[in-house]
């Protein structure tokens, strides 16, 4: 008898590297899919023929798609979820090597322009079963309730067609599903249920944030994270090695790959890895299925409903690429808003050197957080707010290669100077924001003339800051500089141009003229076409988005199931 949790270690010397190559040969086939929690094991998987009209075809298995697939399958629907990326086995496929792990990123060609062209890849998009959550930083925050109605209550952005109290219930659900490890009492926002795991021990980098916040007279707290601090099923507690953003090889991290997708498989969903969806077919105003490329050829899966969940670049790209005679401007695009209002979030940082050893790379990268500036709308003195929106900021833990890159690019060091700076790596700590940028129609995803390896036009991503964004950047950097210095940081310098997260290119709303989908993530134009991922955000708020993406996905599933009854 095998007791769960015994000897499923990646560092178990008895285990061998799997013989198959998940990046070139699909693993989910022949009626089985990898059991990601156990070395070498499989779980049975229900499969559908292409000609069979399944209830739901879902494009993308990340925070939005994977979560939705799980709940729809558990609700008794037949589901096929496609992902262009490989089906990794974290215990076996993930190396402790930054270069090697770039296999998790979406590095297909994309064209960037605008006044502040975005950097794409490692920092914002993944290509794997489980989506970007396979290499996300696990920060699991709720929106501030007012952000669901920023236009009405705060005078900027656009309202969500959702009520925060309803969202609070779905946040409860996703926090329970992922066993979020968070503080006993969260200091900001209205009452919420206690987290299902206690917060992790904070590292020295997080203590720097704590000292800085205490010196500046604002609150801080250990960050709620989607990695368990006590066992959960086959997932062992976090071992604090800090490889989270390059794929957690212990499964402590509750990515969609190890949380919702195993449940989805158990409930009868089919997952197709290495399956790139190129076009959605429509007839008589309804979606009829998806064209996808797998194992060397294009196929067509029939479906009663189609969900697009490819994240805020690939989702509009697929909708635009699916233009046909019926919908010449792309699917769901009668408002002309598909691809518009692309929002990233600010990711500026300040870095400094400390006398004591910090070793910031130990443990998950963001173990402490302050959401003060998300909840304080005025500020005062030198930190009076002269802009809309807010930001949270967190401690940081860059791994060596990323740190060398940052020093070379953002700090402009090279040669002797770079080597000398890297000697101080163990003594560096930094603070980084996740800030709210405004939705702007000029920031958008369109199609370029260039084609990718599947012969599909690639995305052109145009991005520029507005004055409000710039004012926010200034405030944030100024505050972080003071906080870091107050904590004892010396030689403090700014990293001023980093961004993260992608949202908003198929926004939800209450009016078909000003939004792409309704509150249930269903497109206004095509009744059996849904968008369920970061694209539906009308505004982004000053917190990391995936908990909200997942809460929206849970709600969408409930709404779809309720309509069937």
């Amino acid at each position: 008898m095998r007791i769960p949790g015994l000897g499923n270690a990646a560092d178990n010397p008895k285990h061998v590297t799997p013989g198959d190559d998940p990046e070139h040969h699909p693993r989910a086939r022949d009626g089985r899919a990898p059991n990601v929690m156990r070395i070498g094991e499989w779980v049975p998987m229900r499969q559908h023929r292409d000609e069979e009209e399944v209830d739901f075809a879902i494009v993308g298995t990340g925070a939005g798609g994977g979560t939705l697939a799980c709940r729809l399958a558990e609700g008794g629907l037949s589901v096929v979820a496609f992902d262009a990326g490989p089906y990794f086995r974290p215990l076996e496929d993930f190396a402790s090597d930054e270069s090697h792990q770039s296999k998790l990123y979406w590095t297909d060609e994309r064209i960037v322009d605008g006044e502040n062209p975005l950097q794409m890849g490692s920092n914002n998009s993944g290509k794997a079963v489980g989506g970007s959550t396979v290499h996300y930083a696990m920060v699991a925050l709720r929106f501030r309730p007012e952000w669901f109605k920023t236009r009405t209550l705060m005078g900027y952005g656009a309202d969500w067609p959702l009520d925060w109290r309803e969202m609070w219930r779905y946040y409860d659900q996703v926090e329970d599903d992922l066993k979020i490890s968070g503080p006993v009492n969260y200091p900001w926002g209205p009452y919420r249920r206690r987290y299902h795991r206690r917060a992790h021990e904070i590292n020295a980098a997080a203590k720097v944030l704590a000292r800085g916040a205490e010196a500046m007279g604002i609150g801080w707290t250990p960050t709620p994270l989607a990695t368990v601090s006590a066992p959960h099923g086959d997932a062992p507690p976090c071992v604090y090695r800090g490889f989270c953003t390059l794929g957690c090889s212990t499964n402590a991290k509750q990515s969609v790959l190890v949380s919702y997708l195993p449940r989805a498989l158990k409930a009868g969903a089919e997952i197709r890895d290495l399956a790139m969806v190129g076009r959605i077919e429509t007839r008589n105003g309804r979606a009829t299925g998806v064209h996808y490329f797998r194992e060397g050829k294009w196929r067509f899966q029939r479906a009663k409903n189609v969900v697009v969940a490819g994240y805020a670049i690939e989702t509009p790209r697929l909708l635009l690429n699916s233009a046909n005679q019926e919908f010449p401007d792309g699917l769901a695009n009668s408002s002309g808003l598909v691809g518009r209002n692309l929002m990233v979030q600010g990711n500026q940082a300040v870095w400094g050197v400390f006398d004591e050893e910090i070793r910031s790379y130990k443990g998950p990268p963001s173990l402490a957080i302050s959401e003060h500036w998300n909840y304080d709308d005025k500020g005062h003195g030198p930190f009076a707010k002269d802009f809309f929106g807010g930001y949270s900021y967190m401690s940081q833990g860059p791994l060596p290669q990323l740190w060398a890159n940052t020093q070379a690019s953002a700090h402009g060091l090279w040669g002797e100077a770079l080597v000398a700076e890297m000697q101080r790596y163990n003594h560096v700590a930094g603070l980084k924001v996740v800030s709210e940028y405004m939705p702007q129609e000029r920031n958008r995803v369109t199609l370029a003339d260039v084609k990718d390896q599947y012969g599909l036009p690639v995305a052109r991503i145009t991005y520029s800051w507005c004055d409000n964004d710039k004012a926010l950047n200034r405030h944030a950097l100024k505050f972080l500089r003071e906080a870091l210095s107050a904590a004892g940081g010396r030689e403090v310098w700014d990293q001023g141009d980093d961004t993260c997260h992608l949202n908003g290119t198929a926004r939800m709303g209450a009016d078909p003229r000003t939004s792409v989908v309704d509150a249930d993530c269903r497109s206004w134009d095509i009744p059996n076409l849904y968008v369920c991922d970061g694209s539906v955000f009308p505004t982004v708020g000053g917190v990391n988005p995936s908990l909200t993406i997942q809460a929206v996905a849970l709600r969408t599933a409930d709404r779809i199931l309720a309509r069937r009854r």
């Binding site: 007791i3 769960p4 949790g5 015994l6 000897g7 499923n8 270690a9 560092d11 178990n12 008895k14 503080p183 006993v184 299902h196 795991r197 206690r198 917060a199 021990e201 904070i202 203590k207 704590a210 000292r211 205490e214 250990p222 601090s229 006590a230 066992p231 959960h232 062992p236 507690p237 071992v239 212990t250 402590a252 050197v353 006398d355 050893e357 000697q423 101080r424 163990n426 003594h427």
Partner: protein, 346 residues
């Protein structure tokens, strides 16, 4: 700023062939792991205590013959031995637990060696008393147990200071992750029960008293308090573990119930049957031992399980911790014995 790389690098190793014969001073300590030294010191101190405690004289012999009824004598001797079983359990739990945890803390502060040595001598004194069927106390044992009691209190002070000085002060976060605030008190409990054992040996077997109060009653109330204290410690750490396994609720529910039974027992008339309370104590004792198995399962659920024992014994649930419940429960049994005025045969 001192950087790791600033430290003088080691002199390059000479190649064996070119080594000239030179008489070098023999350096023994380099070959022995410091933990081995510590273990040897602890064991040595324990042995010394054992021998120093010698063989205690039965009461009344000096005065020429027994002057107390043998029944009362039986009861106090048995209760004293049982109290020493209790302090043995607790001292052993502290020895292994503080050894593990302070090793984990890399003996960052020299004072962290103290509980290991003190719990070793306490263990020796307790074992010595546990095997001593005679009445009459031993001065060495008495002194050692008192030292344990004091050391635990000082340790508590150290731990409390460590918690409070961290960012965030006396927050849950620091209570979870800095020095466990309640842990040193287990040594105090060992010491207190050990001291009481000596006092009971010296007490009038027909009407044993402690500090002017009925020995059985006061001990029952005291051990009830100890059970509650130990429950608080377990509760804090199991809360940190988010009670992820339902079994984690047992040590926060069963011991308080047993403590209530003890208090009730203290109110019963002398000689009345204490069967329920006794069952409560046996249940808590069994829970303490069974807890080790649960913690072993917890170790298995860590990354790498038992195959990675060198890390997981340190970072997983502490194997030596649960038996401290058994220790306190044995103290409770001794109290019941004294109240009931009859020996419990086991």
């Amino acid at each position: 700023m001192p950087m790791p790389s600033d430290r003088a690098s080691r002199p390059p190793r000479r190649r064996a062939a070119s080594v000239k014969r030179r008489v070098a001073p023999v350096r023994v300590e380099a070959a022995v792991h410091p933990v081995v030294v510590l273990a040897a010191v602890a064991a040595g101190a324990g042995l010394l205590t054992w021998f120093a405690a010698g063989r205690s004289k039965p009461l009344g012999l000096a005065a020429g013959g027994r002057s107390y009824s043998s029944r009362g004598h039986d009861v106090t001797a048995s209760a004293a031995q049982r109290l020493n079983h209790a302090s043995t359990m607790l001292a052993a739990s502290v020895l292994f637990d503080s050894g593990l945890e302070h090793y984990r803390g890399q003996f960052f502060n020299r004072a962290m060696y103290t509980p290991i040595v003190v719990s070793s001598v306490t263990l020796a004194a307790s074992l010595h008393g546990a095997g001593d069927t005679d009445t009459g106390s031993s001065r060495v044992r008495h002194a050692v147990q008192a030292l344990a009691g004091l050391t635990g209190l000082i340790g508590f002070g150290f731990h409390a200071y460590n918690v409070g000085k961290r960012e965030g002060g006396y927050s849950f976060q620091n209570l979870f992750y800095s020095a466990p605030i309640g842990a040193p008190m287990a040594l105090t409990l060992a010491g207190v029960l050990g001291v009481v054992a000596e006092r009971v040996r010296d007490a009038d077997p027909d009407e044993p008293h402690l500090a002017g109060l009925s020995a059985g009653r006061s001990l029952a109330v005291a051990t009830a308090g100890m059970l509650v204290g130990t429950t608080l410690e377990a509760g804090l750490l199991h809360f940190r573990g988010a009670f992820q396994n339902p079994a984690m609720f047992v040590p926060v529910t069963l011991p308080p119930l047993a403590a209530a039974l003890l208090v009730r027992a203290a109110t019963k008339p002398e000689g009345a049957s204490q069967a329920t309370a006794k069952w409560g104590m046996w249940a808590v004792s069994a829970m303490g031992v069974g807890g080790v198995a649960f913690h072993a399962y917890g170790v298995a659920r860590m990354m790498g399980g038992w195959a990675n024992w060198r890390q997981n014994l340190i970072d997983g649930p502490p194997l030596p911790a649960p038996p401290s419940f058994s220790g306190v429960a044995l103290g409770g049994l001794a109290a019941l014995e004294l109240i009931e005025r009859s020996r419990i045969r086991f």
